[in-house]
Amino acid sequence: MKVWKPDLGLQARMLLTIFLLGVVYLIFLAVLVYFRADLLTTLVFIGGFMLLQYFYSDKVVLMSMGAKVVSESEAPELHEIVSRLCSIAGLPKPRIAVVKSNVPNAFATGRNQKSSVVAVTTGILQQLNKSELEAVLAHELTHVKNRDAMVLTIASFISTLAFFFVRNFLLFGGGRRGRDSGSSLIIVWLVSVVVYGVSYLLILALSRYREFAADRGSAIITGQPSNLASALRKISGIMTRIPSEDLRKVEGVNAFFIIPAVAKASIFNLLSTHPPLEARIAALERIEKELAA
């Protein structure tokens, strides 16, 4: 007997996004090769940059957030909740960090399951009760389990390359032998602009799907979807009243937050790393109904 049915729709959407991203990237690389762009140097350069990001992003994120890793004696309750969830989910226990900030939020970082850190703000510790906090931690642990930091870093690799061409089109991308270098330069630049724009939207879509997946994972690990729903309601209700100077600091790491800290008033969900609150709560309610049936 199975308690949890897989969300095939979500998996299909995620796979389609990854596929489209792959197609866009392949076309882009083909164009670059065709115009004999100086691909190798650029790839090495960007590759090195991405490797640095891959290995140091967790430390950078923790430092820029002012997150302090806490030991078991400093935060026994947090440790107990996380270690039990890890037991249930079959994960190695990550380090736990606390950020001194009134913005109620949580994030996970790290390149693999062993080196990951799950961080919460003091604000979220104050606002949520124990079971809501557990649900939020389970959401972050699902990010760790799904290796979301790695997936999104890899997914944005060639997008970063395109962005690089857009910014530095005079330095790179010139056709060198036989072709009209002026016009091919412009074509490569235009293609880069399009690739960057399209891949950016696709990466955002992927990021939103992974939020849904993490919400679902939280529901499965805790067995209680309603706790995450109530935590999300609580946090987002408070988010809008937070002064902006605190928020600016946290913009860079938005993709890994449970709720984006910078309240974008954009009506276009396309431009957001996180799905709208109503959609997330609706998805959790669907899981709840599945359980009750």
């Binding site: 037991s87 249930i88 124990k130 389990k145 799904n146 997936v151 849904f212 997946a213 805790t222």
Partner: protein, 187 residues
Amino acid sequence: MGFLDSILGRTELPKAKTEKLFAISTAAVTLESSLGLKPDGAAAICFKPIESSKYDRARRDIEDLLKISTKESGVLYRLQKDEYGYLWAVLQDPDFEDLVATIHMISQTLIEQGFGTQLLCAVYRFRGEKTVYWIYSFKQGAYYPFVPSGDKQRDNALEFRLKAIMEKEMPVEKDVGMWYPLWGMPI
């Protein structure tokens, strides 16, 4: 947790492993002879409740089963939620075999009803110079020692000794990082 599960963001909880649960029965002999640790007549099993009507039914089934089986074996039991919302079935019986059998029965019932993934652990209490707990992790399918000493401190030295001596007798979790403590458990 496979590669594809990661890419697709699927969450599948590891299944409960119960094969090694009975290893504690035979190990109890060695625990007494070489370490002076006697079963303390108490054991417990801990699992995470689910918001589901199916789960409510499973819980009722377990209570019915407990009522019937404990009448025969004379095991005393109580069900209790801890401060983290996990449910414990706490058992008491001087006969160690009865404790092991009842723990096995509860885990089997939960697995049959589809809630094996929600099983956290089983705990057996032993007494010697210090109170020692052997915790069975259903996810790892192995035991590990837990010796609380004072305020949220563990006697790591004794725990390592227990591991070294008992490794041949029973499956002991090799990764010390998985030896999660359980503070304030109701046993």
